[in-house]
């Protein structure tokens, strides 16, 4: 056990650091590249420029194979790059879904010509991609989706609605799974495409969340025409393609963003209770200790994973543990922080509430983190089935034609 870099790792780190120090934007410029700024168009422009710059020096996407402009980096190298890049706080939000999910999907399932056409521009940030899976009536049960595709000559016609599509409004392309045959059991009647998001009949509407922000969209498809050449995988093979994409999603999910142990500890040191400083209250101290230990447990679990990956192990369900624990803790810490602020804990004004009201904000967005990317309940299923090898839930829908399944009203 050893936290030091090997000589090879140290050399890689030095190289990354040198390039970043020479090229990274100033903190002020970096802030202007985030997805959640007030001027999205400007952010997008700056972010694309930075992505292109990274691509020019082969830092755009470390885990892609070299043939597509990646670096074919080891897991440890990716971690080292992330550590170094994070010191400059350059947002990567615009490109994450494309590079993390859509790119690998295209590499696996598209033609060589398509790879040549789309991957380099995706890598350079010239074209942005999104992922169109979830539907209003198909959340945890993605394969229950209703969006139809029907063959029309060399094309397909798509009708339906997707939901929770991050970045749909600024995306150029998207990957989408649709139902081509409702008369067979649900996993068997799906077909997968990539589509041009600027096609006629595609309409994007933002979804307002509890927190008041809109990080996701609904996307409506009305007679959207897609050439058959943009089909990925065979007709009816859409579920297999989707599963290969979702495996990448699990890897991408990280710690819940927001107040954690550090912020709760700082708040407890700041706040005065009738009995004295909150940090002297043993109830506060016991809770802080729990959160410290859990957050450290997640951190060291990540170290263990990286070590295993660097020795050739296949990615496991560690991301499920991280999301399950950190989203729940975030909600609890938010509530706790507000309790510490007592009667005034409801104040959402960042000028008034301690720590710029991050506890109050986290209370409002944390419920979403317990749902998006796999609910608590689905994550526990994943852990019990994929790690512990326990059987799946009893399936009543496996051998039933999709159009004979009960659908309910919600």
């Amino acid at each position: 056990m050893d936290f030091e870099d090997t000589p090879e790792e140290a050399a890689f780190r030095a190289e990354a650091r040198a390039w970043l120090e020479a090229n990274a934007p100033s903190p002020e410029d970096a802030r202007k590249m985030g997805r959640e700024t007030t001027n999205e168009a400007e952010s997008l422009k700056r972010a694309k420029a930075w992505q292109a710059k990274k691509a020019d020096s082969n830092w755009a996407c470390l885990h892609w194979p070299k043939e597509f402009g990646g670096r074919g980096a080891t897991p440890i190298q990716r971690v080292i790059w992330e550590q170094e890049e994070s010191r400059f706080a350059v947002p990567r939000g615009f490109f994450e879904i494309g590079l993390g999910m859509c790119g690998p999907t295209m590499m696996n399932w598209s033609t060589d010509a398509q790879k040549q056409r789309y991957l380099p521009k995706m890598l350079r940030g010239e074209e942005i991609w999104c992922q169109l899976f979830s539907e209003p009536s198909a959340g945890s049960d993605v394969a229950g989706l209703r969006t139809r595709c029907e063959r029309d000559g060399d094309d397909w016609i798509i009708n339906g609605q997707k939901v929770w599509t991050s970045g749909a409004h600024y995306s150029d392309f998207g990957i989408i799974v649709t139902r081509s045959d409702p008369t067979v059991p649900k996993h068997k009647g799906l077909t997968f495409f990539f589509i041009d998001m600027k096609s006629p009949g595609v309409e994007v509407r933002p979804i307002k969340q509890i927190s008041g922000t809109s990080n996701f969209n609904e996307v409506y498809f009305t007679d959207v025409r897609v050439p058959d050449s943009q089909r990925l995988g065979k007709i009816g093979q859409g579920w297999e393609v989707s599963v290969s994409v979702l495996m990448n999603e699990r890897l991408a999910v990280g710690d819940a963003p927001g107040p954690g142990f550090d912020e709760a500890f700082a708040l407890a040191r700041e706040v005065e209770l009738e009995s004295g400083p909150a940090i002297r209250d043993s109830n506060v101290r016991q809770k802080l200790a729990d959160w410290y230990v859990q957050s450290r447990g997640l951190k060291y679990t990540k170290f263990r994973t990286i070590t295993a990956l660097s020795r050739g192990a296949v990615p496991g369900p560690e991301a499920s543990i991280t999301k399950l624990v950190s989203a729940t803790n975030l909600q609890n810490i938010a509530s706790f922080g507000m309790d510490l602020q007592d009667m005034g804990g409801s104040i959402l004004d960042p000028e008034v509430a301690p720590a710029n009201a991050i506890f109050q904000q986290a209370l409002l967005y944390s419920p979403g983190l317990r749902i998006a990317g796999g609910t608590d309940e689905i994550l526990r299923n994943i852990i019990s089935e994929r790690v512990l090898g326990m059987p799946g839930d009893i399936r009543v829908d496996k051998d039933v034609p999709y159009n004979k399944l009960p659908t309910g009203k919600a």
Partner: protein, 375 residues
């Protein structure tokens, strides 16, 4: 023994439920959420017309002369629909403060107007995002003039007067403060809305600069009186919380029954069934503690301080759990602005804080049990 509401009280409940179902659908609450108004004035007028503002005010002061049990019944129904009106501020807090500490002249002056809905009151203790303590309290009254800043003041933009806690001694400690009645439409008062997690209930920052202040209760009795007022409000709020928790549980149940995944209603999955069972258990514990609080309040029992703390702790827990897990049961839809789940979640946390957080009340409860044990 009889641990239930009477037939008359249940009839009142039915009437209230019918009235509120018609006059306060969630679309009405959403108008306040979206900032179309600060509160639902029309609903309030209807409530006043039904006499609810005077339910627990004696007939001698223009009230209906019913009791606190009737008020509990109404509170539960108001909580069920998240009524965006200043009922708790005016009725549970300001009115109770006057009933408890007002001189005969003050009662004569204010209670009939409160009963008739001619004035709306509130109660102003907090001074920012921290626990108000005898060391931190900054607002002060000297020579009948109040200086200081109170926030968040519930219904602060709506109320006509506030009962304000202010320092009357430079020492810290239990006798450092007193209560005062302050005309919010009078001189030396500036009000501004303050954003909270629940926009469906108005809150304000109120700045007092030499505002005329009339003592309510004796000098130095501010902490003790506000504790007594909060005990009463705790019981009444616990019924609002129970009402809110019941609606959240009902919503979760209905959604789970109608939402299908994997070819079956999600209500057939144990993860959902057991979640709802836990919500129900918490609600029952909350409801039963609230009932005991209602009995203690209505009967003038010496056990009120313990009963009120129990009701507040259990009902706060029940509502927050139900509201939080109702969102979870709704999955993706649950955290959209468009679904109503978040309205209950916001309100649950607001109510859990408004007269002091759960840790504060748990500390109070044990202190009171120690005192009872020592007696």
């Amino acid at each position: 023994m009889n641990f239930a509401f009477s037939d008359d009280q249940n009839m009142l409940r039915d009437q209230a439920a019918k009235f509120l179902a018609a006059r306060c659908p969630t679309s009405a609450v959403r108008k306040i959420l979206e900032g179309e108004a600060t509160w639902d004035k029309a609903l309030w007028d209807g409530i006043v017309e039904l006499g609810w503002t005077g339910v627990a005010i004696p007939e001698a002061y223009g009230g209906l002369g019913l009791g606190h049990l009737e008020l509990c019944v109404l509170a539960e129904e108001l909580g069920r629909v998240l009524a965006p009106v200043p009922f708790s501020s005016s009725v549970y807090l300001a009115t109770e403060a006057l009933l408890l500490a007002g001189s005969e002249a003050q009662k004569q002056a204010w209670l009939p107007k409160l009963a008739a809905g001619e004035v709306i009151g509130t109660f102003a203790v907090a001074e920012g995002a921290h626990q108000p303590t005898s060391r931190s309290l900054a607002a002060k009254v000297e020579n009948g003039r109040l200086d200081g800043v109170k926030l968040p003041v519930p219904d602060g933009l709506i109320a006509d007067f506030a009962v304000v806690m202010a320092r009357t001694s430079t020492d810290a400690g239990a006798r450092s403060a007193s209560l005062f009645i302050v005309d919010l439409n009078g001189p030396g008062v500036t009000r501004e809305a303050v954003k909270t997690i629940d926009p469906t209930r108005n809150h304000a920052t109120i700045t007092f600069k030499g505002a005329p202040a009339e003592a309510l209760g004796g000098t130095g009795e501010g902490w003790a009186l506000s504790e007594a007022v909060f005990d009463r409000a705790a019981v009444l709020l616990s019924f609002e919380q129970v009402g809110g928790a019941q609606t959240a549980l009902d919503m979760a149940r209905e959604y789970a029954m109608g939402r299908y995944a994997f070819g079956r209603p999600i209500a057939t999955f144990q993860a959902i069934k057991h979640k709802l069972a836990d919500m129900f258990v918490a609600l029952e514990l909350g409801r039963s503690n609230a009932y005991y609080g209602a009995w203690a309040l209505a009967s003038g029992s010496a056990d009120l301080p313990v009963a009120a703390a129990g009701a507040r702790i259990a009902a706060s827990e029940a509502f927050y759990l139900a509201a939080k897990e109702n969102i979870q049961t709704h999955g993706g839809n649950g955290y959209t602005w468009a679904y109503d789940c978040h309205l209950f979640y916001r309100r649950s946390k607001l109510l859990a804080l408004t007269i002091g957080s759960a840790p504060h009340w748990k500390e109070l409860l044990i202190s009171r049990l120690e005192a009872r044990n020592a007696a």
